[in-house]
Amino acid sequence: MKFTTLLASAAMALGLASGAMAADDKTKVGFVYVGPVGDGGWTYEHNKGRLAVEEEFGDKVETVFVESVPEGPDAERVMTQMALEGADLIFTTSFGYMDPTINVAKKFPNVKFEHATGYKTADNVAVYSARFYEGRAVQGHIAGKMTKSNIIGYIGSYPIPEVIRGINSAYLHAKKVNPDVEFKIVWAYTWFDPAKEADAATVLIEQGADVILQHTDSTAPQAAAQEAGNVVTFGQASDMSEYAPFPRVSSIIDDWAPYYIARTKAVMDGTWESANTWDGIREGMVAIGEISDAVPADVKEEALALKAAMAAGEYHPFTGPIKKQDGSDWLAEGEVADDGTLAGMNFYIEGLEGEIPQ
C-alpha cells in the first residue's frame, strides 16, 4: 500500500512538472460551463468571451472548455483535469463551482483560477461578477410602464443574493413608475432547464402576468411568451434578439470578453493577482440590449436616461429611502447601499409579496 502511495505522489509530481512545462509556449485557458454553449443565455455569453480571448491572442493562447458540468465533485474532476493538462488559467462560471474551485486551487498553486459570482478567494483564486442589478433597474422601469394587467411575473433560479438583488432592483424601479404593480415570483431551482422554464412562464401568464422577467438561462420563456401573444419579455444574460422586437423588448447582456481578455493578458505578463471584481454598466460588463420599437418612444428615452445616469456613476439603483419587506428601515433618504449588504442580500424590499424560500 505504501508503495502505491509513493507511486501516486511521484506521478503527481511528474504530472505537475510536465503541466508547468507545457505552459511555456502557449497560454492555456480553461472554461467550465454549467449549461450547454448553445443555451442562448448565460453559458453562451461566457463562450463568446472565450472566443474573444482566442481572437485577441491568436496563436499565443489555447482554450479548452467542458460544458454542462454538474456543480459538485464532477466539477472538481473537470477542473483538476484541465489543470493537469497544463491550463494556466481556469474560469469556473457558476456559483456552485465555488468549493470545488477552492479545493482544486489548493492542489495547483501555480494555476490561476477565476470563479464567477462567488465570494471565496485565495492567492490563486479571484472572483468576478457583474452588477446585473443595474440592468434590472432599466428592465423594471420598462416593465412597470409596459404592463397593463399590473402583474409582472418573475422566474427566479435559486434564492441566492444575486437573484434576490435582481428582483428587488426590478421591483423598485417598476414600482416607481407604476405604484399599482405587483410581482409574482416562481422559483425554478435550475439555471438551465427549458421545459421547467417554459412551465414557469406559462403558470405566470395564466395568473395574469403580461410581463415576464427571468433569471434563468434559456430562451424557453421567450418562446412561451410568444405563443401566449401579448406578453413582454427581456433577454437574459444574452441579447436573445431572435425574439425581438416582440415579445423581447430589451435585454441585459453580460459582456465577459473584455474581462477575460484582460485576465488572460495578466497571466501572460505575469501580473495576475487575486482580486474581487464587480463591474457594471459603467465598465461595460453589463450592457442593455437594444430597446425595440414595441416600447413607446418616451419610455425608451427614460430608460436610456436611467442607463446613462448609472454609466456616469450619478445614480445607484439602491438609493434610499428604502424599507425592507417587514417595514423596517434599510436605507435612509439619499443613502446608497454598500456592496457588502448587496453581496449578501437575503431580504425583499417593502411591497414585494411572498417569502424568500427558507
Binding site: S9, G344, P357
Partner: protein, 360 residues
C-alpha cells in the same frame, strides 16, 4: 424474410455475450457519430476508453473511476435484487437524496463536536433515510396494492423539493453569507468521509460498494432468501407453492435497495461532494438502473458495468476538453450503450432465422 424464433431455452452464451457485443456496437456507431461531427473517431473512442485508464494522467483518473463508480454500484446492487424479483424501485434517486439529507443532518447536529462516533451515526442515519423513503412505496404496495414504479418515481420529485428546502433553511451554512447550501463536511473532520489512502480514491463508500457486491452474491447464490427472490422473478406461481411471502419480499427488496441508495448518498455528501446543496443529486439513482441491467442484474456484472459507466463519464469529459466534442454527443454515446444492450438482449431469448415467405 427474417423472422424471430423463440428459443426453447434462453441462450446462456448470448446472455454473457450481449454486454460485450453492445459495447462494441456502441463504439462502432459512436465512432460514426463522432466522424459526422468532424472528429477522428478512433482518437475520440480511444480518448474515452484509453485515456482514463492508461493515459498520461491515469494516476488521477483511476481513483476517480472509483469515486464515480462506487455510488452507481452500491445503488445498482440494491436495485438488482428487487428487479430480479419483479419489484421495480425506480426512485433510487430520491432515496439517495434522503440518505444524504439524513446523513449530513446527523453529522451537522453534532457540529463542532469532535468525536469518533459521529461518522458511524451518520452512516446509520443515511441508510435509515433511504430505507424510510423506500418504505413509503413498499408499504403502499403491500397495504393498498399501489404501483411501486409510479410511487417511487414520484417520490424523487418530493425528495428534490425537500433537498431544496433543507439547503435553504434547516441545514444552511450559518456562515454562508445567505447563500444556500450546508457547511462543508470535508472541513469537519469527524464527519468527513475522507480517502482511506490519500490519492487512492478509496473512501468508505467504495469499500461499502465492494462489500455489497460480495454479500449480494452470497445472498443470491447461497441463501434461501436469494433463492426466493430469483424464484419470484422467474416463476411467481412456483414461488407461491414454495411458501414465499410476497409482502415480506417486497418490504425486504425495497427496504434494502433504499438503504443502499441512502448509504450512497450519505457517503457522497460526506466525501466527494461535501455539501448539501440544491443541486446535490446528479442522477446516480437513475444511471444505476442502466448499470443494473448492463450488469445483467448479477453482482459481479454490476461491478464491471459500474466501472464502464464511470469510464464513459470521465473519458467523455476528457474528450470534451481535448477534442472539443459536445457534451450532448457523449450523452448520446451513453444512451447508445443501453439501447444496444436491450436490442441485443433479444438474442438471448430469440434467434434470428431467414425464412421463406409463405402464402398466408
Amino acid at each position: 424474410m427474417i423472422v424471430l424464433e423463440k428459443r426453447p431455452q434462453p441462450s446462456k452464451a448470448w446472455s454473457y455475450a450481449t454486454p460485450v457485443v453492445a459495447v462494441i456496437a456502441t463504439m462502432v456507431f459512436g465512432g460514426i457519430l463522432f466522424a459526422i461531427l468532424g472528429k477522428n473517431p478512433i482518437e475520440a473512442i480511444g480518448t474515452i476508453f484509453w485515456e482514463p485508464l492508461f493515459g498520461e494522467f491515469a494516476f488521477y483518473y483511476r481513483p476517480q473511476l472509483l469515486v464515480k463508480g462506487a455510488p452507481l454500484v452500491l445503488i445498482a446492487i440494491g436495485l438488482a435484487l428487487g428487479f430480479r424479483a419483479g419489484i421495480w424501485n425506480i426512485g433510487a434517486e430520491g432515496q439517495y437524496i434522503m440518505g444524504a439529507i439524513f446523513g449530513a443532518g446527523a453529522g451537522l447536529a453534532f457540529y463542532p463536536l469532535d468525536a469518533f462516533y459521529i461518522f458511524p451515526i451518520m452512516v446509520i442515519a443515511g441508510a435509515f433515510g433511504g430505507w424510510l423513503w423506500a418504505m413509503i412505496p413498499a408499504f403502499l404496495k403491500v397495504r393498498f396494492g399501489t404501483n411501486e414504479i409510479l410511487v417511487s418515481l414520484m417520490l424523487v420529485y418530493v425528495a428534490e423539493q425537500m433537498l431544496a428546502s433543507v439547503s435553504l433553511g434547516l441545514l444552511k451554512n450559518p456562515e454562508g453569507f445567505g447563500f444556500p447550501g450546508s457547511r462543508n463536511l470535508q472541513s469537519y473532520d469527524s464527519a468527513h468521509n475522507a480517502e482511506l489512502i490519500a490519492g487512492s480514491g478509496m473512501h468508505w463508500g467504495v469499500v461499502t460498494a465492494l462489500i455489497a457486491v460480495i454479500f449480494s452474491y452470497i445472498l443470491l447464490n447461497r441463501h434461501m432468501l436469494g433463492f426466493h427472490i430469483r424464484l419470484t422473478g422467474e416463476a411467481p406461481r412456483a414461488a407461491k407453492f414454495a411458501g414465499v411471502n410476497p409482502a415480506r419480499l417486497i418490504l425486504f427488496c425495497l427496504g434494502l435497495s433504499g438503504a443502499l441508495a441512502g448509504l450512497a448518498g450519505m457517503f457522497e455528501v460526506s466525501g466527494p461532494s461535501g455539501v448539501v446543496s440544491i443541486d446535490f443529486n446528479v442522477g446516480y439513482g437513475f444511471t444505476a438502473i442502466i448499470v443494473a441491467f448492463l450488469g445483467r442484474l448479477h453482482p459481479v456484472g454490476i461491478l464491471l458495468a459500474g466501472g464502464l459507466m464511470a469510464l464513459t463519464y470521465i473519458g467523455g469529459e476528457i474528450a470534451q476538453s481535448q477534442l472539443g466534442l459536445p457534451a450532448a454527443a457523449i450523452q448520446v454515446f451513453q444512451g447508445m450503450l443501453l439501447f444496444f444492450l436491450l436490442a441485443f438482449d433479444l438474442l438471448t431469448n430469440y434467434r434470428i432465422r431467414a425464412a421463406r415467405s409463405e402464402v398466408a
